[in-house]
């Protein structure tokens, strides 16, 4: 048995060892780096089932005041590990495009770090899942964000990638500025940085509602950028389109999961303040409504598949925010909303990784990312076309898929909370979603291919695709295992009340 922090340390150590190996090895092929990273991550994933649990009452000043290892955060850690493995497999498929877009003396030189940087993001995500202190949460969030800056701008020879990198850098740093200033005010109001202690102090503060709201709005602006909520979504389409495809996939899953996890953690102490709780919920509902409308309607005219998935990512942030806006004022209500958000994020992860993996493989043969380039994909590779069909149906919310059950849970929360406006908006936008997701399916199955040469898929990618497709169906029919993993216990904050 190990203390849980061993997992993060192992991932970081793996990253550093691979960086050293990359610098000093003679071989020009970087594929072995990614393969050994995937292999080691699989071992770390296995180790995660043998960690000790956190002490119930940590002594003051100990490490456990910053870091918790409750079952829910362990689930998030495992998901981060699995996602990173899938992203690395995607990066292997992407290697040729990457090498073409990096100016270098030798073929493939300078591509090594691309396979190592996801490990640092992964350790940041894992630390973030365990953070129960604002300082820890801030440091972990920045570890995630800064390694994303490098990965988005990684293709130095591609104007699109550099432009996406600069846009992400500026807006990411702006969101950090707002988030930090919000933390500052939270500290100023309470004198604490630990979430539980903040909750206790906030509940006893009298007559400073404006200052509390000010602090929370600053933090919400910062996190709004991370989860791509309207009106802070302007970076999403450009960055998603310009970034290397595996990074786009990681960004849409990792950044969103990190943002929502932190959003729930930060909101909890504030919802305990009875006098402002309804104002917070109103703000969240407005954000959710705007995000739903913008994300789904702006996706309608898109022809570039990556851009379409970017707007779809904004739309899905809308459904997630809709669930968050249904948090009751009582702290115990957060438990079920947390499970809903957790399941939705999990389903979103399966279908997003699947669509980007297919996109990575297919675009190398179709020579483009427009929807018309996918014409007749079913004739060139029935396997890839079927995988993308499953991903698109799940994103749209066809019954029996994980995406459908996620949406179902969100709407059930909304009905419980009597959020009728949001339900109406959600229904309309789900309809819009069917149109633009199924347009891709129609192109694949009903249009004639311009070039009918078959597409080969490597064994490792085939395995991951099969697993993801199976996951979408299995958890769409029987969501119990995932739901109960997120429900086993309330967050440590809630149980401390």
């Amino acid at each position: 048995m190990f203390p849980p922090i061993t997992l993060e340390i192992l991932v970081l150590a793996l990253g550093f060892i691979l960086l050293l190996a990359e610098s000093f090895s003679q071989s020009t092929s970087k594929r072995s780096l990614a393969k050994s990273a995937v292999f080691c991550l699989a071992w770390i994933f296995a180790l995660s089932f043998f960690v000790t649990s956190a002490p119930a009452n940590p002594e003051p000043g100990s490490f456990w005041n910053f870091y918790s290892a409750d079952p829910v955060s362990m689930v998030f850690k495992r998901i981060a590990l699995l996602t990173t493995m899938a992203v690395l497999v995607m990066a292997l498929e992407y290697e040729k495009v990457l090498a073409k877009n990096i100016p270098s003396a030798r073929e493939g030189a300078g591509t090594g770090e691309f396979f190592i940087l996801p490990l640092f993001t992964c350790s940041g995500l894992m630390l973030l899942a365990s953070a129960v202190d604002l300082v820890m949460a801030f440091a972990a969030l920045e570890l995630v964000t800064i390694s994303f800056y490098v990965m988005v701008a990684y293709m130095r020879g591609s104007h699109a990638s550099l432009e996406a990198g600069v846009k992400y850098l500026i807006l990411g740093a702006l969101s950090t500025g707002f988030f930090v200033y919000g933390i500052t005010w939270i500290f100023g109001l309470t004198g604490e940085t630990h979430f539980t202690k903040i909750a206790l102090k906030l509940a006893s503060l009298q007559g400073s509602d404006t200052a509390i709201l000010f602090a929370l709005v600053l933090v919400l602006v910062g996190l709004g950028f991370k989860v791509a909520a309207v009106p802070f979504q302007s970076w999403v389409p450009d960055v998603y389109q310009g970034a290397p495809t595996p990074v786009t996939a990681f960004l849409s899953v990792g950044s969103k999961a990190a943002g929502f996890l932190l959003l729930l953690r930060v909101l909890e102490p504030f919802l305990g303040v009875a006098s402002i709780a309804h104002k917070i919920l109103l703000v969240l509902s407005v954000l959710a409504g705007a995000t739903l409308i913008f994300g789904n309607l702006a996706a309608l005219p898109q022809n570039n598949l990556k851009r379409l998935l970017a707007y779809s990512s904004v739309g899905h942030a809308g459904y997630l925010l809709m669930a968050v806006a249904c948090v009751g004022v009582a702290p115990s209500a957060l438990g079920s909303v947390g499970a809903t958000v957790g399941f939705y994020l999990f389903a979103y992860l399966l279908m997003t990784l699947l669509s980007f993996l297919v996109l990575t493989i297919a675009t190398q043969h179709t020579k483009g990312e427009e929807i018309q380039h996918f014409n007749g994909l079913s004739k060139r590779s029935p396997f890839l076309a079927f995988a993308l069909l499953v991903a698109m149906s799940s994103l749209a919310g066809v019954p029996l898929t994980a995406g459908f059950y996620g949406k179902f849970l969100v709407f059930a929360q909304a009905v419980n909370a009597s959020q009728w406006t949001l339900i109406a908006l959600g229904t309309v936008t789900v309809g819009a979603g069917f149109y633009f997701y199924l347009r891709v399916v129609a192109a694949m199955y009903w249009a004639e291919p311009a070039d009918a040469s078959p597409i080969q898929v490597s064994g490792l990618s085939k395995m991951i695709i099969v697993l993801l497709v199976a996951g979408i169906f299995v958890f769409g029919v029987n969501p119990k295992p995932v739901l109960s993993a997120f429900q086993t216990q309330q967050t440590p904050l809630a149980s401390a009340h």
């Binding site: 604002l134 300082v135 801030f138 440091a139 920045e142 800064i146 800056y149 490098v150 701008a153 130095r156 020879g157 104007h159 699109a160 550099l162 432009e163 996406a164 990198g165 600069v166 846009k167 850098l169 500026i170 740093a173 702006l174 950090t176 500025g177 707002f178 930090v180 200033y181 933390i183 500052t184 005010w185 500290f187 100023g188 004198g191 604490e192 940085t193 389409p237 450009d238 389109q241 310009g242």
Partner: protein, 108 residues
């Protein structure tokens, strides 16, 4: 008696933050925008130190948690600058410009 109160520091830090934000919104040179972003982070640092100084605990010492957070922010800002300037330099090499108007190839 100390003529400077917490409010003075908060006002100064609020001004710094607004200046930084206004710069990000209005300036058109990426390097300047980046400097303004650093200004926003430093505004947070200033108010954290002020909050720390004026949150005196029962033992008569300031609350040092905030000062620890300041060190984290400084470190993160330094890492951000290192990565950010590298990206901006790479962009300049490829496009010979650091003006936001010239960087609009990704569009609807």
């Amino acid at each position: 008696m100390n003529p400077l109160t917490l409010n003075h520091y908060l006002l100064a830090s609020g001004l710094l933050f607004s200046l930084g934000f206004a710069g990000v919104m209005l300036r058109r040179n990426i390097i300047t925008i980046f400097m303004c972003l650093e200004l926003m982070l430093n505004a947070a640092n200033l108010s954290l130190v002020a909050f720390s100084r004026f949150h005196v605990g029962a033992d008569g010492l300031p609350n040092y948690n905030a000062q620890v957070l300041v060190f984290f922010i400084i470190t993160v800002a330094a890492a951000e600058v290192a990565v950010g300037l590298a990206i901006i330099v790479a962009l300049y090499r490829a496009r010979q410009t650091t003006h936001v108007e010239d960087i609009q190839s990704l569009k609807f």
